[in-house]
Symmetry: C2
């Protein structure tokens, strides 16, 4: 508390920012300037272009705080900085105690030597990232990127802050996570406590590390409560001895399941460090009992291998979505917002969320909610669409970041995959450093994706699988038979028709999508009435898609897909309606095509479909299916329908019609199916009826001989 | 006369065609069936799909004619078949006298032995081309093509009859040119009589070949009349001696010029074969005195070489257009229609017309009109967008065709270039048979474009330049520094913005364009009211553009360019208006960018710009600037403006504004230029005034220092 903020060298029109302003921690400079009305809302109109000076300016946060003599007598006194965005020099009473350059690495500093009783002053000095990144570029070389300034690959800052094809450039700065002073004798430094499900039963495998100074007689009390709140296991360890390990049997274990496949029972673990009846530290975690595997098995009568998540031995069709950060000002996202957005995903019958590598390791609330809702989490490490460097400093920083992230998130039942990056194998392929004929010697970051990160996961979180990159596997990134795939032949690439997703499947389609505008409700919030037409500068600006030359191309791609389907819309409301209808039709085609290939045991041709993208970080025409106002687009409902536990689906390929039932249910279901095929003018072309059994967790074809249309 | 026509094996719904029907010669089966109302108008609605049976059926033409005893006493009696489309067996009184398989080769047969006094019967039996072409494909291999059935490369039939991206498949058949019986003693078989302009004056260089039987005392009387009708030279040769050559001096010669560069005086040559006061044969030709060169000179301070047509020593900026056949039913095009269309080109300040290689060697009326109007003709040989074969039969046929075409057309003053093909080097490049890394051993037709055709031109028409293909020259077909270039990065390819023609110049831009619908007047003729919306099946069908998978893509490309420029149009009329406005804006950009680089002597960076395409062959949304109803699109007027003899032009590249005067005038012109740059809301950004001299036949830059916008 008591934080202030200023930019001594703020440019002239913003001289008010040279004076100390009240500041909020955790927070960002942009957030405070907004609160002080020193910048306009960057999400309104073209305002984001007017606030670029903020990210290009150096900012100093300052607070003074009182340290008591008692605190100074504590054997340990740490300054904890959970997240600094990004280039930050930390000074305590004038002495530099930290220089941080990775927003994803939390710091804990022993600062007692710098403190004195009474008033102390802490300053956080944030430098702008672009000059620093460009200096690193000058030293190490300019690197290929898709989206954003290429210097971004040198800085461990959320990559989407540099601008993406769905978001503006907002280079935030500030202590985006907690800053605290921690006086203690001893504390729980690390805890790994998975519920291990095995043939010999379910066990809590506890492994704790303490920090500080323990004494003989210090105890570590461990209790595990079942989902119903009753204690199911307990033990007490001598905290003064090492290692601090225990294996507790969990009787009558209740398995945690992805939603739709079973319930989400969560156990509660309490660990307390006790000194003669006084609690020195305590830690509570919610745990789920489950196993998760990524299986690549043969696919009957087809080349390649499946890409199937298997939970508790049951293969899961991973229908779901890609997640981007909910805001550009990360401090504004509340736990309630996380919960609401993820509940929407759950309501759409999704079972997997991919946390995309251009964003952040999300807040605890995100994973807590996924645990509760039964949403599997595919977690990318934070590399996206770039040729990342691998010089020693960088690797060290990545290592620290990865270890911190894995330590923080590994206890979540929802965590199903760690993935090395987003599309870095693809961009490497595009520059001849990967794929057929590529020269891996030019792909520096291979050592990150294929050595450093898998080592971290293997060491710290061995019960969760690792995958080197999304997409990867197979001969090249477009391989349809091995690994995961990003299907962008529709929208990008050859701009294939939006109903042709079936031609562009992969064993697991981890990205695909088509743009649509947000709701008129949201549009009305960032436009003036005169902006409310398809070609207005504001509407164009709030669509960040661009061609390789940087020219906006979202509107023209929308226009192309629109013209495939509808006549030109007569007014703006109809334009918004029609483009959203096309997106919905595309998503119907996609989820239907992909889920229709879920097959059955031994023949899992397609095992997942994650739409790009679930959500937005500002009001924008994007591939999202829920807009920044939280309103689902029509495509959301299309997905919900196609991912229903029991879905009757049909598909037309030229003259051939096929139909089937896709089921994610645990048991066979008797079904009566009636099919009518009508022309637009109502003429009945075909009628069929079946009395079938919809096989459990499989696709049951509906017999339809020959071409029909 | 007295021709009839039938298809003994016409399919069932068309059994009326099994009976003899009155037929028109010259003509086509389609034309006669239309006249008899046995097929619907193929240009209306989707009707072209309903008439495909016509081209897939064998047709027999028959006539009976009376031969008099006097005719039979004539020493020579020839059957002349000027053009047979295409696979034709000619029978006279039941005896096969010819099998023809090249619609561009005229035939003259000595048939006296087959004739008798009284009634004689001539039949022309036309086989459908597709089965024959496919048999040749089976023997010689399937070949890469863009547009149309790939078997077309094996058949010397107008290639656009197989369907193109601006025309439907209409496989006409029939004697499309005259069929006559010619009784004679002796006749003028060939005449080459150029007016040679040289340092020693202007000369008529006459070289005649006779056929038949001459006698001692036969005379060849030669007279040359000047443009004003007065005789300027005459001679009489002994027709019984060989060679028949003469060199006549032309006093006070009047040079023929491309329009805008001078007048088009035409001399008239009469050659008469005289036997004792009786005229045995006579021939009249209109000649122009001019030299034409294609110069490839250094371009000051730039790589590569120019591509400049030089007439009478004066370099010409060849603003103009590409020409396709005016109809799919070639017999319907009247001399008046040729004249009207070419007059439109002339009125648009065009000076060059390229007769595109997928069409025909045009009718005499075309070239006569070009001579009169001063339109230079770039004449392709008839190969387009295909990997043509080169087996001996094929080469022999091509040789005969090329010789006939050159002999017929070489006397035209307007003829400025013979060109080997359209885009065959490009398609060869696309299949790895040409260009960087290409294997020329796989490019069979190279022998046609680089040996056979240039040999024919060098031998028969040495005063007109030859160019191997359009485009060709330089390292690859996209080379911007050498040779001619087809600029399709705009519309096709990367779909670059329609104002970016300046980035895609070539030394001579022989193709570029952007689609627009025909006028509403034309649309109303091929649609019903319910078809009059952008996405109707009929409107889609009357746009033949398609992607490499054969999916229609014209409407979506139009939609993309439309969305770059305008909001969605509110109704169909606005859609038609707006898409045509975009085309006009694109053509303004193109002609301005290209003509603005005409430079000056020694620095001719761009020497020509031919829009794809001037005209249409049916009612269609195409790249044409004049629709099939003869109505100019707005783009026509844009071209007219940018090609004005004295044009003030300006161009914006990001922040840089440039302005200049482009002149095709023979003398320097004093000029007062005033420039205002206004925003859309009327705010004046810039104002400038100059008093300058617009240099003759050059570009005069207007000084505007620094970035402006």
């Amino acid at each position: 508390t008591g934080w202030t903020l200023r930019a001594p060298h703020a440019p002239d029109p913003h001289s008010r920012a040279r004076d100390w302003l009240e500041a909020t921690v955790p927070g960002t400079v942009h957030g405070d300037l907004l609160r002080h009305a020193l910048i306009p809302d960057p999400f309104d109109g073209l305002n984001d272009t007017q606030v670029q000076w903020v990210g290009q300016t150096a900012w100093t946060y300052r607070t003074t705080f009182t340290v008591t003599p008692e605190q100074l007598q504590s054997p340990h006194l740490d300054l904890c900085l959970d997240g600094l965005d990004t280039l930050c020099t930390v000074r305590l009473n004038g002495a530099a105690v930290l220089r941080s350059d990775n927003m994803f690495v939390p710091h804990r500093l022993d600062v007692r030597a710098h403190l004195h009783a009474g008033e102390n002053t802490l300053t956080l000095h944030f430098e702008p990232v672009l000059p620093h990144g460009r200096a690193l570029e000058a030293r190490h070389g300019t690197r290929a990127v898709w989206n954003g300034d290429p210097s971004r690959v040198y800085l461990r800052k959320a990559q989407y802050h540099y601008g993406w094809d769905w978001g503006p450039v907002i280079l935030t700065a500030g202590p985006w996570k907690d800053v605290t002073l921690h006086a203690y004798h001893a504390r729980l430094d690390d805890l790994h406590a998975p519920l291990t499900v095995g043939p010999d039963g379910t066990w809590l495998d506890l492994n704790a590390t303490l920090a500080g100074t323990t004494r003989p007689g210090d105890l570590l009390r461990v209790t595990l409560h079942g989902p119903d709140g009753h204690e199911v296991a307990r033990t007490t360890l001598d905290a003064h001895s090492e290692p601090l390990q225990a294996r507790l049997h969990v009787p009558d274990p209740q398995l945690w399941w992805p939603r739709g496949y079973g319930p989400q029972p969560l156990y509660t673990l309490h660990v307390t460090l006790d000194r003669g009846g006084v609690t020195l530290d305590t830690l509570t975690r919610r745990l789920g009992a489950r196993t998760v595997e990524l299986r690549q098995d043969p696919v009957a009568d087809e080349p390649g291998t499946s890409f199937t998540f298997v939970v508790n031995g049951v293969p899961i069709f991973a229908g779901g979505a890609n997640w981007i950060p909910e805001d550009l000002l990360l401090d504004r996202v509340t736990p309630e917002q996380y919960r609401h957005r993820l509940q929407q995903a759950a309501d759409a019958n999704m079972v997997m969320i991919r946390v995309w590598g251009g964003g952040i390791y999300e807040h605890d609330a995100f994973y807590d909610t996924c645990d509760e809702l039964g949403l599997l989490v595919w977690q990318d490490f934070l590399f996206a669409c770039g040729m990342y460097p691998a010089h020693p400093d960088f690797l060290a920083s990545v290592q620290a970041e990865a270890q911190a992230a894995v330590r923080r998130l590994r206890h979540h039942a929802s965590l199903a995959l760690w993935c090395g990056n987003n599309e870095d194998y693809q961009i490497a392929e595009s520059v001849g450093a990967s794929g057929p004929g590529g020269d891996p010697a030019r792909f520096d970051a291979l050592t990150i994706y294929e050595r450093l990160l898998p080592d971290v996961v293997r060491t710290l979180n061995p019960d969760v699988p690792y995958w080197p990159g999304s997409p990867s596997g197979g001969a090249a990134s477009h391989d349809q038979t091995v690994g995961d795939r990003h299907t962008w032949e529709i929208w990008h690439g050859v701009m294939a028709p939006h109903r042709d997703y079936g031609h562009y499947e992969g064993r697991f389609v981890s990205e695909f999508g088509l743009q649509a505008p947000p709701s008129l409700h949201v549009i009305e919030r960032f436009t003036r009435p005169e902006d409310r037409h398809a070609g207005s500068r504001v509407m164009e600006h709030h669509n960040r898609a661009a061609d390789p030359q940087g020219r906006p191309d979202g509107a023209r791609r929308l226009a192309a897909y629109l013209s495939d389907t509808f006549d030109p819309p007569r007014d703006f409301a109809e334009y918004v309606y029609a483009t959203r209808a096309v997106q919905a039709d595309a998503m119907t085609s996609a989820y239907r095509a992909f889920r229709g290939r879920w097959g059955h045991a031994g023949a899992r041709a397609v095992s997942g479909a994650l739409v790009w993208q679930l959500n937005d970080c500002w009001p924008v025409t994007s591939w999202s299916v829920i807009d920044s106002g939280g309103l689902p687009k029509p495509a959301y409902h299309a997905i919900q329908r196609e991912l229903a536990p029991l879905a009757v689906q049909a598909r037309r390929d030229d003259e051939r019609l096929s139909a089937w039932i896709a089921s994610s249910m645990g048991e066979d279901q008797p079904a009566q199916v009636h099919l009518d095929v009508l022309t637009l003018s109502g003429e009945r072309l075909l009628t069929h009826a079946w009395s079938v059994t919809a096989a459990a967790n499989a696709v049951t074809p509906l017999d339809l001989a020959g071409p029909h249309l």
